[in-house]
């Protein structure tokens, strides 16, 4: 379904990521762990197809639908929650169900600025689900949330994934608890520099 063969990724001449191979099939859940600044979000952007400036190949069907929960919710602030969902293609009658699934049944008519970060992130999750993705990318879904809110987010995500057995997942986090709750496979990214990127042990997952 998805295959990434990365030889190297440099940013402004500085190596960020070394060689790694990533293969995903439907329903597969993978966590990439590592401290911040290690290039996890960069890797996620490459997987998403947003960052094409790397050496290597990325192969997936053109119709592969990717839902991306960015660390910042990235909702359109000038559109209401319901309009934000409509914009990715959610039919009006599905909006209540989607918001209900993320535990926010009453926010359809609010603007994103009226939401807390935790709520906005859940709306962003509802938007990703509204897109009917085959592959879901989660970038630090519990970062900047307090302990209870982070736990609630993990529980919510667990439920979402259980209801969609075919949905593939790539999770990026610095928090091992996210990985334990949500995925079966965990990979830890180690620092690429100062060794030349190609000498680094490649990560292969199947």
């Amino acid at each position: 379904m998805f295959e990434l063969q990365l030889t190297a990724k440099a940013y402004a001449g500085r190596p960020v990521l070394g060689a790694l191979r990533l293969q995903l099939s439907p329903g597969q859940r993978l966590a990439l762990l590592g401290p911040s600044g290690i290039g996890k979000s960069t890797l996620l952007n490459i997987v998403a197809g947003l960052d094409t400036e790397f050496s290597g190949t990325r192969r997936c069907a053109a119709e592969l639908r990717i839902g991306y929960l960015f660390q910042e919710p990235r909702l359109l602030p000038w559109r209401t929650v319901a309009q934000n969902l409509r914009l990715v293609g959610a039919e009006p009658q599905r909006i209540d169900a989607l918001l209900g699934e993320v535990g926010l049944p009453d926010v359809a008519d609010l603007y994103p600025r009226q939401l807390s970060l935790g709520m906005a992130r859940r709306v962003a999750l509802a938007r990703a689900l509204a897109f009917d993705p085959d592959l879901l990318l989660l970038d630090e879904p519990t970062a900047s949330l307090d302990g209870d809110t982070a736990d609630a987010m993990r529980t919510l995500l667990t439920g979402v994934l259980q209801r969609r057995p075919e949905l593939a997942l790539v999770l990026v986090s610095h928090d091992p608890r996210d990985a334990e709750r949500l995925t079966g496979q965990q990979l830890t990214l180690a620092a690429a520099a100062p060794r030349p990127p190609l000498e680094r042990a490649g990560i292969t997952t199947k």
Partner: protein, 256 residues
């Protein structure tokens, strides 16, 4: 809002008072009293001349404004998005920005003759660089993170335009509109004075030849009122509507 209106009326009354006193003291026909201007206004209105010339000017202002806003936005878009386009077009922009309006008007009249197209084109060319400079800044400030989001969720062009770009460019379009109307109607007057046979500028020309200061003031004041009316009845309500999300977003909001 009502306080603003009160202050506005206060300043206006004060100005009128100063004018009245000054005109009475001087007793010179070259500075007519407010009453004399009002009489000129009534005279021009009842003859139908005022409405005719105001409409002629207003039509030119609106046509030139719409064309300049569209072309200026496209130009600003190209220059804000592509460094190459910016390198090529920037010298042209600086040239147009620094070319006096009068020179452009004269040249176009000489080349194209005293025709309506030359008049409107002169105004458009004067305004385009202005819009382009403002919109270029707007386009450069478009949020790249939202751009990525729109790519991931495959926003079609129509949605990018109306849901992603226009809301971000709105303050810049508003600035270009405000500055644009004020600048354009002043240039339109010059264009009319030099080569048209209707419009406020043409009437000012006639009045100037006989030193009819009351008529000059009557015509210019009525057009100022029109521009002010556009601001109050069109631009401000539009702005309030478009900024609704910011007003509602203020304050603590709901939290869970």
């Amino acid at each position: 809002m009502s306080r603003r209106l009160r202050d506005y009326l206060l300043v206006l009354t004060l100005l009128l008072g100063v004018w009245q006193l000054l005109a009475q003291q001087l007793g010179d026909p070259l500075l007519p009293t407010p009453q004399a201007v009002l009489q000129a206004l009534v005279r021009e209105w009842s003859s139908g001349a005022l409405a005719h010339h105001l409409l002629a000017t207003l039509r030119r202002v609106l046509i030139a404004f719409v064309i300049a806003l569209l072309l200026g936005t496209l130009l600003g878009w190209a220059m804000g998005r592509s460094a190459g386009a910016n390198r090529v077009l920037d010298p042209l922009l600086v040239l147009l920005l620094n070319l006096p309006a009068l020179v452009l008007i004269i040249l176009l009249y000489v080349w194209m003759g005293l025709v309506e197209a030359a008049a409107v084109l002169a105004v458009v060319l004067n305004k385009i660089p202005n819009v382009a400079v403002i919109l270029r800044e707007g386009v450069r400030s478009l949020d790249p993170e939202l751009e990525q989001m729109a790519r991931i969720y495959r926003f079609p062009l129509r949605r990018r335009v109306f849901d992603l770009w226009l809301p971000q460019l709105f303050p810049f379009l508003m600035a270009a509109t405000r500055g644009g109307l004020a600048l354009i109607w002043k240039i339109v007057l010059v264009v009319e004075l030099l080569g048209r046979s209707d419009g406020v500028g043409f009437q000012l020309h006639l009045a100037f030849q006989v030193f009819d200061v009351a008529a000059i003031l009557a015509y210019s004041l009525s057009f100022i009122v029109i521009v002010q009316a556009i601001e109050w009845c069109l631009l401000q309500p539009l702005e309030r509507r478009a900024r609704r999300w910011q007003r509602l977003g203020q304050g603590s909001g709901a939290h869970v």
